[in-house]
């Protein structure tokens, strides 16, 4: 049930036929985890907070550095040295005080991942490294929580949505370890990719639209093109292979 203030606040998106008051109510009752409060996590958190998701849990162990500010728009000059989750919580609470923002300054590990995402309806992958992405992917698969992947490098980005047990997961094309390197990026690219991830989350929670499942979307900012590639669930995948597939 929406309050009069909420109906006013979300009036423009309630006007969208696919959302309406019912969809807005679903968003209000939803709980999501954003893993990473950096380049991707910033636009994701801003737009999900603005959209009125009920509870947003942000996990990041890092502190704000000057070199983050070209892309991590949740953090400002005054935040350098501060925990990213604290900086994020301040901004997001100022944006929408009705959203429960939970800040967790934790390093995501195989041991604590399950507990960190417990009770949530969606896990949003806004990490900056592959090992943690795989920890989250496995956790999402095991707990059967939808997983919203995004990644960037330079002017390029990609998005994939995973419905555990039904669609290809992040691990389905795994070929081996990838060296972790400092990556180049300009802020407008995670802005695009993070916004698409947030769109996917809103659609999933509201139960509308067609998700980016079994479809890898690749954005090339230099050419301004979006390419789509079909993926299939891998029956031998060491994360999701044991789960039955519907597609």
């Amino acid at each position: 049930m929406l309050t009069p203030s909420e109906r006013e606040r979300y009036d423009r998106q309630i006007m969208i036929g696919e959302i309406g008051q019912e969809g807005q109510g679903k968003l209000k009752r939803s709980r999501v985890v954003i893993a990473g409060a950096g380049g991707l996590g910033s636009p994701i958190a801003i737009y999900l907070t603005a959209a009125g998701i009920g509870t947003i849990r942000i996990i990041d162990h890092d502190q704000v550095a000057l070199s983050n500010l070209n892309r991590q728009v949740l953090h400002w000059e005054e935040d350098v040295g501060r925990k990213k989750v604290d900086s994020a919580r301040t901004k997001l609470r100022n944006l929408n005080s009705t959203v429960d923002i939970q800040a967790m300054a934790e390093t995501i590990t195989e041991k604590n991942a399950s507990e960190l995402v417990d009770g949530c309806d969606a896990i949003i992958d806004a990490m900056d490294n592959l090992p943690t992405r795989y920890i989250l992917n496995r956790c999402a698969v095991e707990k059967k929580i939808p997983f919203f992947h995004g990644a960037v490098n330079g002017f390029e980005g990609r998005v994939l949505t995973v419905i555990p047990g039904e669609t290809a997961c992040l691990r389905c094309m795994y070929r081996g370890l990838v060296p972790q390197e400092k990556f180049p990026v300009i802020g407008v690219v995670p802005a695009v990719i993070g916004s698409i991830q947030a769109t996917e989350v809103i659609k999933y929670l509201a139960g509308i639209g067609k998700l980016l499942t079994n479809r890898l979307l690749i954005y090339d900012g230099l050419k301004v093109t979006f390419s789509e590639f079909r993926l299939s669930k891998n029956p031998d995948c060491d994360h999701c292979g044991s789960l039955s597939g519907k597609e």
Binding site: G38, A151, N153, E156, G157, C172, R175, V178, V185, P190
Partner: protein
């Protein structure tokens, strides 16, 4: 069999800037070998060792993932191969 290979942005330094290269072959592997014959710099960009793609390289055939055993996948005239590099940044 003439197949078009779409070259990833980061690899175009090895193809004189070309983003699409025409190659010949009956499998993805043969097509990539022909690509390397034309542009030898692509070998290190794609392969860790003989017949072993780098873990960061993804191959799509006609816009569908060619994983697993990408190199053995048969191709036909007019097919398109996209070479894509995995991204991990956030």
């Amino acid at each position: 069999m003439v197949v078009k290979v779409h070259i990833h942005t980061t690899h175009r330094q090895f193809t004189n800037g070309s983003d699409v290269v025409a190659v010949e072959g009956n499998t993805v592997g043969e097509c990539l070998n022909h690509l390397i014959k034309q542009f030898p710099g692509m070998e290190k960009a794609l392969f860790a060792k003989k017949d072993k793609l780098l873990n960061t390289v993804e191959v799509y055939l006609n816009h569908a993932s060619a994983y697993p055993n990408e190199l053995l996948k048969p191709v036909k005239d007019g097919d398109q191969i996209h070479l894509v590099v995995m991204l991990t940044g956030g």
